[in-house]
């Protein structure tokens, strides 16, 4: 269990910069999620932490000591891969025991069994990976990563090969196991739900840079940048580019370029912005309505499973001024500034 720090970490492939000087500190025992679209450099960061890739620049520190040059085998890091990477030529017990073969362990088999019990595959020890279901393979991979009591547990999109229900259970399961063992964990994912539900803290990355670090709530309600605002949230946030016609309707500071408002914070009202409904999409618990307005197309959620509106209806929508998020020309949030219907 370790405290991990990244200082100005960079990785360059030929001409492409995959990771561009990121700074990050992960506290001992913390569960951190790294969230970003594919190609944002999150997996590269993970493999640098594991020691499989050598950083092109910057430092990786475990408990304050620089480990850049420490080989993968000596870093005591456990990884669970998206494909699980179980060794097909070994059975479950041998797979879990594999990391212990490189350590001086007296009761390797007992430890492996104990770990197998913890992840609930105690019945399957004699099976081959090919005879296991996806969820079982996932558990075995987790046990193998944890059996050597790693300094750091890395999870590389561990749930993306599972079906939806299994994903739900495994999410809770992984959280339970990492809490029980109090292991520092980094989860890499492009699924925001996975990141926000499992992690203590979420790092949002884009094109090799960290856009924002914070709790799930921070990222959702107070996105630092336009990218984070747009990436997080489903259905996505309404982003209104401010041109002369929009400025005529809205009361915003002159330096602002874009205004964002979450769909669930817009609601129909007696007075406010006049809109015309274009589509109505029932989503089960709530209904997503898309409507045209002077600000451009707007999405808003009605908390009902029976749609009140249909296409062509004219109504008014309004929002609270403090719920709006205002971004400047560089895409940075302008804190303490808001927009209102003018």
């Amino acid at each position: 269990m370790a405290n991990v720090e990244l200082r100005n970490l960079t990785k360059v492939w030929d001409q492409v910069t995959a990771v561009d000087g990121i700074n990050l500190e992960i506290r001992d025992g913390e569960f951190l999620a790294v969230l970003g679209p594919s190609g944002c450099g999150k997996s590269t960061t993970l493999f640098m932490l594991a020691g499989v890739y050598l950083p092109s620049g910057g430092d990786i520190l475990f408990d304050g000591a620089r480990v850049n040059d420490v080989e993968a085998r000596s870093r005591n890091v456990g990884i669970v891969f998206q494909s699980y990477a179980l060794y097909p030529n070994m059975n479950v017990l041998q797979n879990i025991m594999f990391p212990l073969r490189f350590q001086e362990t007296r009761d390797a088999a007992a430890q492996a069994r104990e770990m197998a019990e913890l992840v609930q595959v105690g019945e399957l020890l004699e099976r081959r990976p090919s005879q296991l279901s996806g969820g079982q393979q996932q558990r075995v991979a987790l046990a193998r990563a944890l059996v050597k009591q790693p300094n750091l547990l890395l999870l590389d999109e561990p749930l993306s090969n599972l079906d939806a229900t299994l994903r739900l259970t495994m999410r809770a399961e992984i959280r339970r196991i990492t809490r029980e063992l109090a292991v520092t964990t980094i989860l890499v994912t492009h699924d925001q739900l996975e990141a926000t539900t499992m992690a203590d803290r979420v790092v949002c990355m884009n094109v090799g840079r960290i856009e924002q670090t914070g709790t799930a709530e921070d990222l959702y309600l107070r996105p630092d940048t336009l990218f984070v605002a747009g990436f997080i949230g489903s259905p996505p946030i309404n982003l209104i580019r401010l041109q002369a016609s929009q400025r005529a309707v809205l009361d915003v500071p002159d330096t602002a370029e874009t205004v964002g408002i979450r769909p669930e914070l817009l609601h129909s009202a007696e007075t406010g912005l006049p809109v015309t409904v274009t589509t109505v999409e029932p989503m089960g618990r709530e209904t997503l309505v898309t409507a045209d307005s002077d600000l451009g197309p707007l999405r808003f959620l009605e908390a009902t499973s029976r749609p009140k509106w249909s296409a062509g209806d004219k109504l008014h929508v309004s929002f609270r001024s403090q719920d709006t998020i205002v971004f400047d020309g560089a895409g940075q949030r302008m804190s303490d500034l808001h927009a209102a219907i003018g």
């Binding site: 020691g51 499989v52 993968a72 085998r73 890091v77 456990g78 998206q82 990477a85």
Partner: protein, 353 residues
């Protein structure tokens, strides 16, 4: 009425498709049997000659008599296989037919069979017995000397080929380095030239480095000839092993070498066995380079032994030639039989490469 009619139609259709399937299967078996004949008959003939020919002459009468028993047996088994559905019935039929064939063979050709042509296996000096000590004594070896030499050539070149091809294939599959694609293209271009075209330069090279008239010469040449293709095959097999597995082993605490040995290598076992078998057989059956790279009788291997039995030393005794051939074939035949499974995987791995 309409219902009854449709039912009748279904039955008819079912019967028709069953019949069609039978006919198709029958035709397929007949066709496969026919095309197998030219492959099997020469081997069988050689075997028959080796156990029946008397000194000097060759006659095919024994062959025809044996065929008269065996061909009906094969057809009878084919018929039994189609008629009987259960595995147990088929086994009984096979056992009975084999027993019948053995009895039939004993009566028809049993008196003509003998093992005298195999005397070269126990008699170290075949030539002296035939021509007297003066002719070729001391030059022509006992068959086991040639056998062991052949084994040595085949096994050593196999070990070299497998080691180099595996390591090179792994490196080519996993590492990016300047000139990698050119190197791969180069490997393929080498396949264009038939190695026999290079016999004279190879002879000179082997002569200059002083390996002429030693087994090391053909061993190295054979290794070099097979390597390009084998490297390509192994690269294909390594390409099919996912990166994740290797990274996982390294984070689990293995060094790169340990990850290679304990995790990656077991995944390409099929490829290794396949090139080992191919490499061994190439060395075992080699004739051109073992002949070209010696200037006297400095070493003997099975292929040169067979050649001299047939052509040079004692005129032609086809019985002995056939017997030597049978002994010569057995090791490769056994290897093929036991490793067939891995050789068929080879195409798969090759395609991926």
């Amino acid at each position: 009425m309409a219902v009854a009619k449709t039912q009748a139609d279904w039955e008819l259709l079912a019967r028709r498709s069953r019949r069609d399937r039978r006919i198709k299967q029958g035709l397929l078996i007949a066709f496969l049997t026919l095309v197998t004949i030219p492959v099997v008959v020469p081997f069988f003939w050689i075997f028959v000659i080796s156990i029946s020919a008397r000194t000097g002459g060759v006659e095919s009468e024994v062959l025809w008599r044996a065929c008269a028993i065996l061909v009906p047996t094969v057809f009878a088994y084919g018929a039994a296989h189609t008629v009987f559905r259960r595995a147990r019935q088929r086994i009984y039929a096979a056992v009975i037919l084999v027993l019948l064939a053995v009895v039939g063979l004993a009566f028809s050709v049993g008196d003509d069979l003998h093992l005298y042509n195999y005397r070269f296996m126990v008699n170290p000096n075949l030539v002296e017995e035939l021509r007297g000590a003066a002719t070729a004594g001391g030059q022509f070896p006992w068959v086991w000397v040639a056998f062991v030499n052949s084994l040595f050539v085949a096994a050593t070149s196999m070990a070299l080929k497998v080691t180099v091809a595996t390591l090179a294939g792994y490196y080519l599959s996993r590492f990016a380095f300047r000139g990698r694609s050119q190197f791969l293209q180069g490997l393929l271009i080498l396949e264009v030239f038939h190695p026999w075209m290079l016999t004279i330069p190879i002879f000179l090279v082997i002569f200059w480095i002083g390996l002429l008239n030693t087994l090391a010469g053909p061993i190295l040449v054979l290794t070099a000839i097979d390597l390009p293709f084998f490297i390509f095959i192994m690269k294909g097999f390594f390409d099919a092993v996912p990166w994740d597995i290797e990274m996982s082993a390294m984070t689990d605490g293995a060094s790169r070498r340990q990850a290679f040995r304990m995790v990656v290598l077991p995944q390409v076992r099929g490829g290794i066995i396949a090139i080992a078998v191919l490499g061994f057989i190439k060395g075992w059956e080699e004739y051109v380079f073992v002949t070209a790279l010696r200037t006297g009788n400095s070493y003997w291997v099975m292929s040169t032994y067979l050649y001299y039995v047939a052509e040079d030393v004692m005129g032609v005794d086809y019985g002995v030639v056939a017997a030597v051939s049978v002994i010569y074939i057995i090791p490769s035949l056994l290897l093929y039989l036991f490793c067939q499974k891995f050789l068929t995987q080879l195409t798969l791995g090759g395609v991926k490469g």
